[in-house]
Symmetry: D2
Subunit: 176 residues, 4 copies
């Protein structure tokens, strides 16, 4: 069994990733990480209705999608930037609209039913200001047919805050 963690954090050792590590420690199986900041992923060009469909894009997107489809379970990790997922994560997800139309990826069939979770982290009234992100991911999971298992909203302002968080006990048994 494999868990793929896809991180949209923009900095090393982010608080979001710290929380994700704690959650992942409860996963019974192999854990893989993809950090989007280390890859090149271009913005989507919406060509859904072009007669020739989407132009091929030369970047790392397909590789991440393949890893996601190969995994048994996916954990999306993103800091709460401006009350939503980071631009890294959004840019990645926007391109799913293209990946869904690449027959060789078999995107729709392979993502349907896959368990997915979400970890985010913000600095101010996160339990309230993080809710639009949760609602958005609910729609994303519903559309793809993924099974939205769980989410965790962390609170941290400065680098290192996650380690001192009083919410760490919520991550015990995250994947059990």
């Amino acid at each position: 069994m494999t868990l793929l963690i896809i991180s949209g954090s923009s900095r090393e050792h982010s608080n979001s990733e710290y929380f994700a590590e704690k959650a992942a420690a409860t996963y019974q199986g192999e854990v893989k990480w993809i950090r989007l900041r280390e890859l090149t992923i271009h913005q989507i060009h919406d060509q859904r209705h072009d007669s020739n469909g989407f132009d091929p894009v030369d970047d790392d997107h397909a590789e991440v999608v393949k890893a996601m489809l190969d995994a048994d379970e996916v954990l999306f990790v993103t800091p709460l930037y401006w009350y939503g997922m980071s631009g890294y994560m959004k840019t990645f997800i926007d391109r799913w609209s293209q990946a869904m139309r690449q027959p060789e990826l078999n995107f729709k069939e392979r993502i349907a039913g896959k368990p997915g979770s979400l970890i985010t982290c913000g600095g101010d009234q996160v339990d309230l200001k993080g809710l639009p992100l949760i609602l958005q991911f609910k729609h994303i999971f519903d559309f793809t047919g993924m099974d939205f298992k769980k989410y965790f909203i962390g609170e941290a302002r400065k680098p290192g805050d996650a380690e001192k968080s009083n919410r760490l006990n919520q991550l015990e048994g995250f994947f059990n």
Copy 2:
């Protein structure tokens, strides 16, 4: 009086932009457009807590921010991609966290109180599935102190649908 329209559409002549044109036709003053797809804007690297702050980034972000701060009113236009703003728009807004820390931009003082509106467009149950985006922008406007005047959710599936929309009458007097 100047209205700046900042568009996060990824294709020319998008439905979102069509709705924005109709809304803008009711504005009493000059209307300027910035289409983010025509510019280069990099993802943020969160260095808020680095001792030296953010590294300078060589792209078009500051130019868009300056135009936004110079305008009397701003209209954000984005297709509804995956139940949120487009990656173009999100990448742009994420970088506000950097712009707020560039003293020469005087970001916080100049954006506070500025009227802002939002036009989005989606294809399926948009009045429900667009709500996370509206809730997110509410937080964005609140944080910056912008005055969230109005939003419009358009419905369109294919290129050209906006022109035939039965919601166009909701745009009459949008800026009055």
Copy 3:
């Protein structure tokens, strides 16, 4: 074809009901009204797990449910009180949990697939502050299997404001 309007307004000639009348004028068929304030409906006593189930309640609830199940289409009308439906409406809907367990009503089978709409009206930033209500009704419709066709959020502060509303054009063709 019959449209049943169930109103949770607490006063005569409310703004919400005015908007509902305008919407109903576009319905092709018979229009019936039920005003909950004119009836007696008690709060639910949750006895779902009692061995004998729910005690019978002597009030007007079953009558309203029957009318709702008999109608081809239902329009729920409620003022926006404290960012949600009125107590009249909530008290009525809470009791559905009891009605669903009264075999003679055949509630679940008869409500599934029925088209439903919602009209509300508030006084302050209604397009934002009314959203929790919309999200709640989305869940209500989903749970019952009703088809959430449309909603309208009116803005009015004082009695009579609805008649002067600049949103009346959004009600043209509401049921077409």
Copy 4:
């Protein structure tokens, strides 16, 4: 210091109340309970704009309001009925619009700044389906000027489930 717990549960020994007891055990001070099901509270009749204002209502509402205004802190407890607060709770809160206009209660001044929390409990995907309620209470707290300190969403289907909940550790230190 006094904590007032206002419960909108409709049955004795409800799961919501169990969670509230656990939270209250962490409060440093006196804890008082009001269970709305044991009182008589009538629906509001919106007479805000009547020349003579609201007619007096002979029920227990003012008594609960006084206890709320006397308390140092308030915990609202409600089962998640139909993705919102119970009719008991909603009927109570609706009447605040009347209480705010009774000069002898001094409602607005005395509620502003008061810390408030929320505990709810539902049975199915509560972390998602409870969100409209959280968003609604955010608006309620904002309007009154209360300080929304914390919320907890419990999961329980049958009587007694709360005692076995794996979320009880989230209530440790709820009021610390």
